[in-house]
């Protein structure tokens, strides 16, 4: 009879797909123990999400839209979490492995003396406890872990769970309540002065239907111009590996991967990228993954759907031409 608390961060945009996945995962785990799941919605517009979250599997919803969450996301978020923890007394505290979850989870785990497992790709209830699997050593190994403490805290990667079919009739059964977080800002709290969205001419990387990404094999900033032309022909966006960012060829905002952006386009074309797992984490949700690489033994040919061995300087312009012929 586990009590699950799933934390969903909102920024005035309603619950995200990964938030609803997290809720679906939490709801299934709660059922597996004949327990209950509470969704904690944090941030602007959280109050309006109650029915939607109930329909997607929450038994109850707590929300907090305190303005402090925007100015002091970490410290105010922790206060709200502490309050919610006292009310719900969860056995399992779930976060998405995104900037909010990766920020709050280690701190609340330390505060509550709870075991934390981050970046889980699987989470199940087995022999009386929650067991998570997560890639380690850049995906070269998988670790199975469990907390030894009463409370288990987990951050979950996108794709580890799936959203439940919404069922509006569930909304009648659950309660939606505002959390009385009483957040009094501390003088030492780091303050968000402003937020900037990177400018982009074309579609945004994280929303684009097609992404053309370049790595160290692209050889320099000029090479990225060639990739940009292909991306333009496909109305897509350009991404990059960490190596290309480290070389200073492209801005860090283009980095795809575990510690860059996670993209889920219909088509991902990886050019001059060797296929390190930290990169592949960021594009594994692409429907079709194409790799262009001079090295026939490149690791990326193991994960790609389609591979072409060759020099991108010939292949990429030729592909742009071939696409125009087809159009």
């Amino acid at each position: 009879m586990a009590r699950v608390l799933a934390v969903l961060g909102l920024q005035g945009q309603g619950a995200s797909a990964s938030g609803l996945e997290l809720l679906g995962l939490g709801a299934r785990l709660a059922r597996a123990t004949s327990g209950t799941i509470t969704a904690l919605a944090l941030g602007e517009g959280a109050g309006a999400q109650g029915e939607r979250l109930l329909a997607h599997g929450a038994d109850d919803v707590l929300w907090c839209a305190d303005e402090a969450l925007a100015r002091w996301p970490g410290e105010a978020g922790l206060r709200a979490l502490e309050r919610a923890q006292q009310e719900v007394r969860p056995d399992l505290l779930l976060f998405s492995a995104d900037s909010l979850g990766r920020d709050l989870a280690p701190r609340i785990a330390a505060r509550l003396d709870a075991g934390l497992i981050t970046e889980a790709t699987e989470l199940e209830f087995s022999e009386g406890r929650f067991v998570a699997a997560r890639p380690v050593f850049g995906g070269k190994a998988i670790a199975r872990m469990a907390a030894t403490t009463e409370l288990t805290v987990v951050t979950v990667r996108a794709g580890a769970g799936s959203a439940l079919e919404p069922d509006a009739s569930r909304a009648a059964g659950g309660s939606v309540r505002e959390l009385d977080a009483a957040i009094a800002p501390g003088a030492a709290w780091p303050t968000v002065l402003r937020r900037e969205i990177e400018a982009s001419d074309g579609p945004r990387l994280e929303e684009a239907k097609t992404v053309v990404s370049g790595g160290r094999g692209v050889g320099g900033p000029e090479g990225f111009q060639t990739l940009q032309e292909l991306a333009d022909a496909l109305k897509g966006a350009v991404g990059a590996s960490r190596a290309a960012v480290d070389e200073g060829w492209v801005p860090a905002a283009w980095q795809v991967g575990q510690t860059g952006k996670a993209v889920a386009p219909d088509l991902y074309i990886a050019v001059g990228i060797s296929g390190a797992s930290q990169h592949m984490v960021g594009c594994s949700r692409a429907k079709t993954l194409v790799a262009i690489n001079t090295d026939p033994d490149a690791l990326i040919f193991e994960t790609a759907r389609i591979g072409v061995v060759g020099d991108y300087r010939e292949l990429v312009p030729a592909l742009a031409r071939a696409l125009r012929e087809l159009a």
Partner: protein, 262 residues
Amino acid sequence: MHVVVLLKQVLDPEIPQKAFDVDPVRKVPKVERAPQVLSIFDGNALELALRLREARGDATITALTLGVERADEVLRKALALTCDAAVRVGADPEALDSRQKARLLAAAIRTLEPPDLVLAGRQAADWEAGQVGAMVAEELSLPCVPFVSRVEAAEDPLTVRQQLESGYAVVRLGGPSVCTVTNDETNVLRAAKVKDVMAAGRKPLRVIAPEEIGGISGLGPAVELLALELPAKRTGAEMVDAGSAEESARALARRLRELGAI
């Protein structure tokens, strides 16, 4: 201003999968000669500290690691990059969980001049937990700003850039804080100068035994590693090869059309 940078020595993350195996009993990697490097985000944190010191002039930097003796290599590297002091907590990180490591690191920091800023990589390149920096903040009762890529304004109060999913936030610190560091084009770790490498060999390293700073008594491991396994083998890509680049590109375009990808 005193800046403490947390550094971890890790198994080189660039070793190929072919060379990587696991010991399923001890639940540790099994790699021949096991090359060790400074964890990459810690390198970014170190670069950020060096740039901050250049911008301010009044900063001193202490490099702090937790590790066995060979981890002195990362401290030597930090000294060669002109860090002012280097300290190692003599403990085996493989035998401790994140919280226990944070407890020891925080205790070691308390023996130093109180820091204005503690920097740590956002996650280590081996177990990739992404916990220690934030937990050190909790142990020291300091606020924490994660995913910092650069300092926006080096005068007090410090203002930093925090990377977010789409874009970034500019965050003003309110006093001593912990920042975990993520990479961007401005914080790639520089190479050491030859003369500084020579000098670093002569600089003192301080080693602290866990017992000297209170150890981790009363703090058992909060997480248990049940198994360490190799990932399931993946099937390979369908290779497109139609002779010339021009023909292969055409074949690829047609295949993408068939798959409905374009």
